[in-house]
Point group: C2
Chain length 321, copies 2
């Protein structure tokens, strides 16, 4: 008889699952009823946010590897911390998985999480794992906002500022369109970078912290779509934002993919979302790692314009729609 090579959670139980998670994402703060986090400095503050990924809605198990799902869950939560100008320091993972799930799935998911929190110099400090019909990955991110500078809020854009961005725009939506047409195994090799951008967005670590130090006043991340997310800043700040088409034009690879799919690459850029691009406004020069993609004006009829006109694509992500 062979020993079980690839056991399920029903076979090994909850503690084995907790052990593989802790092996890939260890922390001395983990393992009590709750984790205790020290504060760096007398006037530091704590930033918290949560985002839930549901199988079939936010990822598909035949499109994403478990490690990519783990990376994506951390990236999108930490992007919200960075969008406040804070430094991500910790994450908590609440995970629902069916009992027939392989332990290896949990291990690989934890590897993606552990790698990604490590990229930021952060830790997975706690969590919960439970039986459930679908895979649901709920992450809470904790960040530290050091010093007395204000946090980067949605309502702090001012006329006369430039709009700056760090990260890709539209690549995630292009990857999703390719997966829908071809499935993971059928996507032409040259387009795999776009698929990667969808399954686990590439975002540089620490750019929000840099932006706050460098004079950015308002910031968010592109999670629901470029027009949708900049519209949120524009409405909250009571300004207009004018996007520069030359600065956000689809990349050659995206244009090539659009040709194959007979799609409009501008839809991916303007409505796509899930790139987690950091979008900020500032009176000063673009901080290191950012490029200028538009300008902030006094409020006009349209809240977000593309070269002075209403953009052709302006829908964003909406659950239940």
């Amino acid at each position: 008889m062979k020993a079980p090579q690839n056991p399920t959670l029903a076979e090994v139980g909850e503690q084995a699952a907790i052990n593989v998670i802790a092996a890939h994402a260890p922390s001395p703060r983990n393992g009590d009823d709750a984790a205790v986090l020290d504060h760096d400095a007398p006037n530091s503050r704590t930033v918290v946010t949560t985002d839930m990924l549901v199988e079939g809605r936010h990822f598909r198990l035949d499109w994403s590897t478990p490690a990519e799902i783990g990376r994506k869950a951390i990236t999108q939560n930490f992007a919200d911390v960075e969008a406040m100008g804070a430094r991500p320091i910790a994450a908590l993972l609440a995970l629902s998985v069916p009992a027939h799930t392989r332990l290896e799935f949990v291990s690989e998911l934890a590897r993606g999480i552990g790698d990604r929190v490590g990229d930021y110099g952060a830790e997975l400090v706690g969590g919960d794992i439970t039986d459930g019909d679908a895979v649901v990955v709920s992450v809470t991110a904790v960040g530290q906002l050091g010093g007395s500078l204000a946090e980067l809020r949605l309502d702090q854009a001012r006329p006369g500022q430039i709009l700056v961005a760090s990260g890709e725009i539209g690549a995630s939506a292009a990857g999703l369109a390719l997966l829908r047409r071809f499935g993971r195994d059928g996507v032409p090799r040259e387009f795999l970078p776009l698929v990667s951008s969808h399954c686990a967005a590439r975002v540089s670590e620490g750019r929000g912290f840099v932006a706050r130090s460098a004079g950015v006043s308002a910031m968010t991340d592109n999670s629901d779509g470029l027009v949708a997310d900049t519209t949120t800043i524009a409405r909250r700040s009571n300004v207009s934002i004018n996007l520069d088409p030359a600065a956000i034009a689809p990349s050659p690879l995206m244009r090539q993919a659009a040709e194959v799919l007979e799609a409009d690459a501008w839809e991916w850029v303007l409505s796509g979302g899930e790139d987690h691009t950091l979008l900020g406004t500032t009176f000063r020069a673009a901080p290191t790692g950012f490029r200028v993609i538009g300008s902030v004006d006094h409020r006009s009829e349209g809240e977000v314009l593309l070269d002075g006109r209403a953009p052709s694509w302006n829908k964003g992500w909406n659950s239940f729609a």
Copy 2:
């Protein structure tokens, strides 16, 4: 034509759901990419924990009202904060619900959450809502540990201490057994307090904070079962714990329910869990709101004993089992 009286999330969309949540659990910190929490004092620390409730596993929609589910989600998360000796100050809610769910369900769930965070003087500071096949309620709790006293850890029980408890023990399991036999509508009226204990455990607020001030050194909450949870303290602290049968004996109501169900009320007391009773160890007198239920000894063969003998019921909750 009548206006829709009881719309679904598919009809009203994500923003309407966010609005009813914010109406029942408002906070000025909510509404940006992440919430910013101030620190009370230079040497305060932050405590974080997360727990996920899955429909069909942790609650049933035909047994619990949405408000009870909300209360339960907060109570069990805040109990983990209290078990560190910290004061709960904030919660985050990540919620998955099917699109056919009534907006009223979300509103009632949020009412239960808002009431319960209010009991603690805390706030719901952020969240995420998404479409999903099952109702999944994932809460993260944030607490504040003021001053320089140590947190209440699992490994801080010492021989010669007493074991103290705040809250009911076994009532939740009794309520669950009644629901399994009779369903919510069929439970005899006299047993409804036990059903309430199951659907939304009653726990006094602030007892963990009191315990830390009053000399308790180790603490946890009874979530998996009295023997299972005290065994965790015993193992981590390398001690034995002897439970006093007279102090934890089933209540008259529990004994009455056990008679009707032909069950053993001691199983509910020793293995039940989900009461979120705070369990602590101290060399000093029981703090206000606590009673003595046992003693801590040098390590012996059994980690947790009942009047010096191995308890007849010692299984605890295990997902995937």
